[in-house]
């Protein structure tokens, strides 16, 4: 396999927050490893507050990791020089969740889309204009829309504009942080299709973040499941969605209610509440909610172990000696 | 309350209750408590006996003997007034920490104070003062007599809080910034001087003039100083105006005319030339200003000080033609530019307006005026420090406490407050101060006045009255002399 475009090792982000009258550490992301290869889509799923956005921001160099490194084409991002940074900015572009706050309301669509191009030296006006028109058409809008303001567009159209903007500088990586979760069902499908088409046509690599396993299944090749800032399971999308190894993944699957009144009741329905990330449980972070928890879960954090589906999962149940205990 | 007289004043000044602890403005209320060695007859303007029954000065004007009145009792049973009290009052008044206006002059002047007996006080001076009795020791100044015994007994702080004097009233209370209440002494019946008709006199401080006028109209005040602007309002409301005649005089002053001082003379100013100063005097229609701004409560002035001796000096008439000619003669046919600095004080709220009026007239003869409002302390600093040599400003003159001192303060280079000097004038003043003969003095004094007028030492405008609005409750009230308000002798209407 080729070298990854974007990779991360031991990526950790700790926020200092005031809690109960004192400053505390909040481990928003803890020890995430990942590698993104050209043309591949990496899905990241997890519940609210599990650190998906924080991870995304670090990968985008919008936030400094507290520990660990992000590498761009093998080079640590914090060592990039000005030219390297510019290359990074060109190559890695995001689309965020909220299409209303992603577009500056005081700028015309054309300028919004041209913004990533404005930092590329040596691009003429005409070139920029034609590129803007090109990408607008690529996302299903008209070239003439460049002259309008964002508030003249619906949510779905805005998200298309955001996508157009992201692909304007011909990036290699798209970072998609819940790009459809604020969209209506009928629009959601349109956007997902566009993203998928663009990815395939341009051989883009994508990081696709979502809390919804079904959309991840649709978009991603490989999936990382996160819980309280830590990856708990990783594998192909197919494996994760059909043969999950981690109880948390199973709970997520169970909670993703199928649109079928006669669907069988889930095997492991979710229980309990998400613990506060400010005092995460000892041992396995999921043990407070896990129906299969064992004694060891409360004291030892499981390592990433090979799972039967070919991926890995952080669960004591996967330990060889645990097999007979269970 | 028919028995109460309410006087709304624009300021209490320092609100302190001993004579030496502040300005003469406090005399409005202090004079109800303290009394003076001599008084002035409002009708004849003669000096009449006060706490001193009689007095005499030595030929050279350096040794003054006062014979005190007998049987004058301090309030609150603090005993009879004696020479010890007078001597104490004088000495305390000129002590280093005295804050009274004339204290520094007196400190320099007084060599010693002796009390040969209970009823006699002898004051020896370093420099001659032929007017000590009616001047610094008189009722228009600040030397109120306090009780030495009382001070010795209770100390200064307590005496300040509960001041004791020989006057007909005693302090009841001071509400800081609000009111000062005086009540009649129990033993007032046989007071040597006053026969007060109100058992309480309440002073209220009301800085805003329109509020004072409103109080007069609602009956919340019986007497209040008002501005000239308010005179029609007060009259319209059916109230009376009582004015103290010619207590101050608005004037336009020139800087840099202290010709006998290096630092304070500015020969380059256009007004360094006498013709220019005269022209500026001729240019102003003073009567119109008096009618319009002073509501007729003033007379045209030939000087910047209300002095009886100068009443005979002829003022400059309104003659713009003459003014233009003089200007041309002085080399300013097209006029020049000048800035008039102006400020307000009490009295003197009309000064800025007067400046604007003067400006209108000067503009007529080609003198271009810019008006710059300043405040009095800044101007006063600039003036006394010799930084005002190119200033022209509105000002107000007050009656002299003593002619000699007044002249020296105003017109000799030794004074920081000199506004105009010349070698000739200084000579005249020195001759005057060394002249013991009363008649000669009078003549010299008049001559000085004439000289100041001819030289146009300033632009003289008016001798202004001090108008008071007075309610129906008030009957006879005589304030014909400056600085003596006689609030303890206000009559009741119908009496």
């Amino acid at each position: 396999m080729s070298d990854p475009i974007l990779s991360a090792e031991g990526l950790t982000r700790i926020f200092r927050v005031r809690h109960k009258e004192r400053m505390q550490d909040l481990h928003a992301v803890a020890g995430v490893d990942l590698a993104l290869h050209a043309g591949q889509t990496l899905g990241i799923v997890g519940e609210s507050g599990c650190g998906k956005t924080t991870l995304n921001r670090m990968l985008l160099m919008l936030d400094q990791p507290s520990a660990g490194t992000v590498r761009f084409r093998g080079r640590p991002c914090n060592t990039l020089d000005a030219a390297g940074k510019r290359a990074f900015r060109r190559a890695v572009q995001p689309v965020f969740q909220n299409p209303f706050s992603s577009l500056d309301p005081r700028m015309r669509v054309g300028r919004i889309i041209a913004e990533p191009l404005s930092t590329i030296p040596g691009l003429s006006r005409a070139e920029i204009d034609s590129r803007v028109a090109e990408v607008l058409e690529a996302v299903g809008l008209r070239a003439t829309d460049a002259r309008r303001f964002p508030n003249e567009f619906s949510g779905g159209q805005r998200q298309r504009i955001a996508i157009a903007r992201a692909i304007a500088s011909r990036p290699e990586v798209l970072m998609l942080d819940e790009p459809v979760s604020s969209q209506d069902i009928s629009i959601r499908a349109q956007i997902l299709n566009i993203l998928k088409d663009l990815q395939e046509e341009n051989g883009l690599a994508c990081v696709f973040i979502s809390h919804d396993l079904a959309t991840v299944r649709f978009m991603a090749d490989e999936v990382i499941v996160m819980y309280l800032g830590r990856p708990v399971e990783r594998g192909t999308a197919e494996a994760i969605c059909t043969r999950p190894a981690h109880p948390y993944t199973k709970a997520l699957l169970a909670a993703a209610l199928p649109p079928d009144p006669d669907a069988a009741p889930p095997e492991l329905p979710p229980q309990g509440e998400l613990p506060s990330p400010l005092d995460p449980p000892q041992g396995c972070p999921y043990h407070t909610r896990c129906p299969l928890r064992m004694e060891i879960c409360a004291s030892h954090r499981p390592a990433m172990l090979a799972a039967s589906h070919g991926g890995v999962a952080a669960c004591h149940l996967l330990e060889p000696e645990a097999a007979h205990v269970a | 309350q028919g028995d109460e007289l309410i006087i709304a004043l624009s300021t209490f000044s320092e609100e302190t209750m001993v004579p030496w602890a502040g300005s003469g403005q406090r005399k409005t209320y202090l004079d109800l408590v303290y009394e003076y060695l001599t008084y002035i007859d409002p009708d004849t303007r003669e000096t009449v006996p006060g706490l001193a029954e009689s007095w005499e000065a030595s030929e050279d004007g350096r040794r003054w003997t006062f014979h005190l009145r007998e049987g004058v009792q301090f309030a609150g049973g603090h005993g009879e007034m004696t020479s010890a009290d007078v001597a104490y009052s004088i000495e305390r008044f000129i002590r280093d920490d005295s804050r009274a206006g004339p204290s520094s002059v007196l400190r320099r002047a007084i060599a010693s104070v002796e009390t040969p007996d209970e009823r006699t006080v002898v004051v020896t001076l370093n420099t001659p003062d032929h007017e000590l009795a009616q001047g610094y020791f008189g009722a228009s100044q600040q030397l109120g007599i306090v009780s030495k015994a009382y001070f010795d007994a209770v100390g200064e702080a307590a005496a300040e809080a509960d001041p004791i004097g020989t006057g007909p009233y005693r302090l009841e209370r001071i509400a800081s910034g609000s009111e000062i209440v005086m009540t009649l002494r129990d033993d007032v019946g046989d007071h040597w001087r006053a026969r007060p008709e109100f058992s309480r006199v309440v002073f209220r401080v009301v800085p805003e003039e329109s509020t004072r006028v409103a109080m007069l109209r609602t009956g919340e005040a019986d007497i209040a100083p008002i501005g000239f602007d308010s005179i029609p309002t007060v009259r319209d409301a059916g109230l009376r105006i009582v004015s103290a005649p010619a207590t101050w005089s608005p004037v336009v002053r020139f800087g840099g005319l202290v010709q006998t001082s290096q630092e304070r003379y500015n020969p380059d100013a256009p007004w360094a030339r006498r013709e220019v100063r005269q022209a500026l005097n001729y240019a102003v229609d003073k009567q119109e200003i008096i009618d319009a701004l002073f509501q007729g409560e003033a007379t045209i002035a030939a000087s910047d000080t209300p002095v009886p001796a100068w009443e005979s000096v002829e003022p400059y008439p309104y003659d713009p033609e003459r003014a233009r000619a003089l200007l041309a003669e002085a080399g300013y046919p097209n006029g020049f530019d000048v800035t008039i600095r102006t400020f307000t004080t009490t009295p003197g709220a009309e000064l800025p307006l007067m400046a604007e009026a003067v400006a209108l007239y000067w503009q007529d003869i080609g003198v271009n005026v810019t008006i710059e409002p300043v405040d009095w302390p800044s101007l006063r600093s600039a003036w006394t420090e010799g930084r005002a040599n190119d200033y022209v400003w509105t000002h107000r003159g007050f009656p002299f406490a003593s002619a000699v001192n007044g002249l020296e303060a105003g017109f000799t280079a030794s004074s920081l407050f000199a506004s105009y000097t010349s070698p000739e004038l200084e000579e005249m003043i020195s001759a005057f101060s060394n002249e013991p003969d009363a008649a000669r003095r009078e003549a010299l004094f008049t001559e000085i006045g004439q000289h100041l007028r001819d030289e146009a030492a300033a632009v003289f405008i008016a001798l202004a009255n001090e108008p008071y609005g007075v309610s129906d409750k008030v009957g006879d009230w005589d304030i014909s002399t400056s600085y003596v308000w006689n609030f303890d002798q206000v009559g009741r209407a119908g009496n």
Binding site: G156, Q157, L213, P258, P270, E273 | -
Partner: protein
């Protein structure tokens, strides 16, 4: 054969306009009925008027819209649409209650949970026990751990899931006979949503209440509802028993919506889509509201189709209804 019980709630020709009778309508010509103990799902995309309908049933619309309310809302024989404020205060909470969408915003931030809970309890005089006991019981009913301590908490001190359960507890304090739930789980995490839905089903069974369940998620409908009504652009376009709607939707919109939802079980290369976007209130098309986006639109669709029964209990607003079986994903 059992005679079906009389409807608890019957909505007839309900419209909500922006004030004046000729102003644009947010919802138009809505007919619904709900029997005791039954759950009716109301699905539709954003802006289709679901919340407006829910609020109209409780007469909680802002003044302008309340003035634009027409039609009848017969609850237990009385017309809610014509009730005076005093009567409304009477039936709110005790007869009809509601759980609002946003648990963060629906609790008053400055009062403790106990305070807000007891306010409702106090008006429910018939229940046994002291106020405190009843409050604790109410929290316990919605499975809040250590309810006694929680009474003193303020909303901001609780997680979203917990808050939503408190909102549930408050809505159910007076054992209403009808509960309107307006997207009660949209802002919750999926695992929390799952549990809350469970809880709601439980409580419903226990109290025997009827429920109008508003959502945009077909998965939730499938889990919760007996019948379902699909809203589009202010109208109900299809209505029927849940199984029938999922298996054999007759309206093209219902069908297209169901198809465009990705599922975990299968991997698709492309999702079937509906072109365009739902119209805004001001720009709703004439005729069939869906026809500009409909794959099968014909000229007839420019006139408004009536709501017509297609199968027993299932009716749709379409000139050319579908008749094929849908293969569920």
């Amino acid at each position: 054969m059992q005679i079906p019980p009389a409807p608890l709630l019957e909505v007839r020709d309900l419209s909500v306009r922006l004030g004046a009778p000729d102003a644009p309508a947010l919802i138009e010509g809505v007919n619904l009925s709900l029997r005791p103990g039954e759950t009716l799902g109301l699905v539709g995309e954003s802006g289709s008027g679901k919340t407006t309908l829910g609020m109209a049933l409780m007469r909680l619309l802002p003044p302008l819209l309340d003035r634009g309310l027409s039609g009848q809302v017969i609850y237990d024989g009385r017309d809610v649409a014509r009730m005076q404020p005093a009567e409304l205060a009477d039936i709110r909470g005790s007869e009809i209650s509601m759980i609002l969408q946003d648990p963060m915003a629906s609790l008053n931030p400055v009062f403790s949970v106990g305070n807000q809970l007891k306010e409702g309890l106090r008006r429910h005089a018939t229940a046994p026990g002291s106020l405190q006991e009843r409050a604790i019981r109410a929290l316990d009913d919605v499975r809040i751990p250590s309810p006694e301590a929680r009474l003193a908490s303020y909303p901001h001190q609780m997680s979203g899931g917990m808050r939503q359960r408190v909102v549930g507890a408050i809505a159910l304090t007076r054992a209403p006979r009808l509960l309107i739930a307006d997207e009660p789980t949209t802002s919750l995490d999926v695992t929390i949503q799952y549990q809350f839905l469970d809880l709601l089903k439980d409580l419903q069974a226990r109290l025997g209440m009827a429920m109008l369940f508003i959502t945009h998620d077909f998965g939730v409908v499938a889990r919760m509802c007996d019948r379902v009504a699909v809203m589009y652009a202010g109208q109900i376009v299809e209505q029927g028993p849940v199984r029938d709607i999922f298996a054999r939707p007759t309206h093209w919109y219902t069908r297209a919506l169901l198809d465009s939802v990705p599922t975990v079980n299968t991997r698709l290369d492309r999702l079937p889509t509906i072109p365009g976007a739902p119209p805004t209130v001001a720009a709703r098309p004439e005729g069939c509201r869906f026809h500009p986006r409909c794959a099968n639109a014909q000229s007839r669709c420019r006139s408004a189709p009536p709501m017509q029964e297609r199968r027993p209990g299932q009716s749709a607003r379409c000139w050319f209804p579908l008749d094929s079986e849908r293969t569920p994903a």
